[in-house]
């Protein structure tokens, strides 16, 4: 009772601040999730390579979630930045021939992020024009141009044979990429967590909140003084940089880059992951990536050639019956629990 009166005596701005601070608060399950993810490396060391792929996929999905879930830009060519980051980090590591400073993994990540951010910023001006359909085609077109370039510039990228001889130096000069992938997983997971925390901060910052306003109604957002296009440019650039880091992680931990990193299926897969996990939730990307990889493992083992069929079926069913993805379902379940618990 006293609480309610105390809240009422505060000004509107204060109440808004409290509301946003409450939203941004770290919750128990979140912390448990991250501790659990690190524990996996020690509990199941033999599956570390798989976990590594999940972590990379989660980061890639996180980058699309920033673009799609927060900025509301439907992109069919997000794989372009994943591939660009992979090639950037791969070429840098190759140039350094396995020795620091050029082959240093952290430097590789930074380099990939910078390259992708620059390209993302430039292309964001192309993407932001027009309707959903135009955006879709422009992103797809840009991705195809990248794929063509990588394919044709075989002297640089290795073309269809892939980029050989990517040898990153030890992580922070101390930890070697071992054969079983445990260090690789810990490395990718750490990068994922750091970038996740950063993304979480951004999403709950005024920048992130203004993005949500733009996604809700860009006309009204503009009317209350939000520079709509500048914000969208920023979000797209950020998403590109994140995707680049994910690509760089793949290049470093597998010591190989092939044309496959730019393939259309990457863009489609990551979209499925984000939608499956829940658009605009951040954790949806992590949950979706884990679910996707698990599904892939089971289905592709059963019918390796026809895995695409099940992928398509999941997409179709998802659109028809499940709204909000896994995170949406969890949220609804949680809300119900609270209602049931609060009633007596």
């Amino acid at each position: 009772m006293t609480d309610a009166t105390a809240t009422d005596s505060r000004s509107g701005t204060d109440r808004a601040m409290i509301y946003f601070a409450e939203r941004a608060r770290w919750r128990g399950p979140e912390v448990a999730l991250w501790i659990g993810a690190f524990a996996l490396a020690f509990l199941f060391p033999s599956r570390a390579l798989l976990f590594n792929e999940v972590a990379i996929l989660a980061l890639f999905a996180l980058s699309l979630d920033l673009v799609l879930g927060y900025a509301g830009i439907v992109s069919l060519g997000h794989g372009a930045f994943f591939g660009l980051g992979a090639y950037a980090a791969g070429l840098l590591a190759k140039a350094g021939a396995g020795a620091a400073p050029l082959s240093d993994p952290t430097l590789g990540l930074l380099f990939a992020a910078l390259v992708c951010a620059a390209v993302g910023y430039v292309t964001s001006f192309l993407v932001l024009r027009g309707s959903d359909l135009t955006r879709l085609m422009v992103t797809l077109g840009v991705a195809l141009i990248f794929q063509e370039i990588a394919n044709r510039m075989a002297w640089l990228t290795g073309g269809a044979d892939g980029l050989q001889g990517v040898a990153p130096a030890n992580i922070l000069g101390m930890f070697e990429f071992d054969l079983y992938g445990r260090n690789a997983y810990l490395y990718s997971l750490t990068v994922l967590m750091v970038l996740f925390v950063f993304a979480r901060k951004i999403v709950h910052s005024p920048f992130g909140i203004s993005l949500r306003a733009i996604k809700g109604n860009s006309l009204r957002a503009g009317a209350i003084g939000i520079p709509v296009n500048r914000r969208l440019n920023g979000a797209y650039t950020l998403g590109a940089a994140y995707a680049g880091v994910a690509g760089a992680l793949l290049a470093q931990t597998t010591a190989f880059v092939s044309l496959d990193v730019l393939d259309f299926h990457r863009s489609a897969d990551v979209m499925l992951i984000v939608v499956f996990g829940g658009v605009g939730t951040l954790y949806g990307a992590v949950v979706g990536a884990a679910a996707f990889k698990a599904m892939y493992d089971v289905l592709a083992a059963a019918t390796p050639q026809y895995w695409e069929f099940w992928l398509g079926l999941v997409l179709v069913l998802l659109v028809l019956f499940v709204r909000g993805g896994v995170m949406g379902l969890l949220g609804a379940f949680y809300a119900r629990l609270q209602r049931v618990g609060g009633r007596p």
């Binding site: 799609l68 439907v74 069919l76 192309l126 024009r129 027009g130 309707s131 959903d132 359909l133 135009t134 879709l136 085609m137 422009v138 797809l140 077109g141 840009v142 195809l144 141009i145 063509e148 370039i149 044709r152 002297w155 259309f264 489609a268 979209m271 499925l272 939608v275 658009v279 050639q305 026809y306 895995w307 695409e308 069929f309 992928l311 398509g312 079926l313 999941v314 997409l315 179709v316 998802l318 659109v319 028809l320």
Partner: protein, 293 residues
């Protein structure tokens, strides 16, 4: 040079028949159907099955491909697509990509992953020698059939009652509905017809380019380019865009300049770059008119 133009023309005509259904349905319902290529693939495989397994002629396969894919299109439209018209573009994209993946895997399962190409009918084999240029007979046949189809479509759209209803619905479906035009029925019919045309084009094309399970993805971008450049409010726009794209694509494969000692195929770059540029400067298409929706 003339041969390139000729091949490009045939290819462009084919592209038009493949893509026109998508252009109309997109303009009509503002529905993004990325699975359009799957219908074309289905038509192609109908031709492959009929000709290779049952030894029927291509002339029988073409109408069969049209009817079968139109029927499948109508069925899917009534059962699945109809639920998606009021959903967001993202959901439409996901749904139709999902359908495309399923179609690709299904075809892979039944027909195998290897590319299939059908034989040209005996009567259309060989070339016409016309002075200095020799023209492939089958391509002449393709151009003739597609030209007839285009004229029929144009007449049907401008002269018949159904055509004027369709145009009204494309221009403003709400007002058209208000005038008592059954937009839903028109859309279902148009969708089925467009799918049928795609299937027809796929069958016609299966003797020129090979058909394989990756076909829907490979051609999705071509369809999108046709629409991006041609706009969705007329059929002359996509027609001109298809011809341009066809000629540019064929020319790009022949013309490979050397840059810094590396032979570079520029076809892909040129086409994708043109699409992106057109979208930036004329989002309504090169030949389209701005529609206030």
């Amino acid at each position: 040079m003339l041969t390139i133009l000729f091949d490009g023309l045939a290819y462009g005509m084919l592209l038009f028949v493949l893509a026109v259904g998508l252009s109309v349905t997109l303009g009509l319902m503002n529905f993004i159907n990325l699975a359009h290529g799957a219908f074309a693939m289905a038509g192609g495989y109908v031709a492959v099955v009929m000709m290779q397994r049952y030894g029927l002629s291509l002339f029988w396969s073409l109408p069969a491909a049209f009817v079968l894919t139109a029927a499948v299109g109508a069925l899917l439209e009534r059962t699945l697509y109809v639920r998606l018209y009021d959903k967001t573009h993202l959901e439409q994209v996901l749904f139709t990509i999902g359908l495309t993946f399923m179609a690709m895997a299904t075809v892979d399962y039944f027909m195998g992953a290897s590319p299939q190409i059908v034989d040209v009918p005996k009567a259309l084999e060989g070339n016409f020698e016309l002075g200095i240029v020799s023209l492939n007979k089958y391509r002449i046949f393709v151009i003739a059939v597609c030209a007839l189809l285009t004229i029929a479509l144009q007449l049907g759209l401008s002269k018949t009652r159904f055509g004027s209803r369709l145009r009204a619905a494309v221009d403003d479906s709400r007002v058209a509905r208000g005038l008592g035009i059954d937009v839903t029925a028109i859309f279902a019919l148009t969708f089925a017809f467009g799918s049928g045309l795609a299937g027809f084009g796929g069958a016609l094309g299966s003797a020129i380019f090979s058909i394989d399970p990756q076909f829907p993805l490979k051609f999705m971008i071509y369809f999108l380019i046709v629409i991006a450049v041609g706009g969705t409010s007329t059929i002359t726009g996509p027609f001109l865009a298809s011809i341009l794209l066809g000629v540019a694509d064929v020319a790009g494969k022949y013309y490979t300049p050397e840059i810094g000692g590396h032979r570079i195929e520029i076809g892909g770059f040129v086409i994708y770059t043109i699409m992106v540029l057109v979208l930036i400067f004329r989002p309504q298409g090169l030949f389209g008119r701005a529609v206030g929706k």
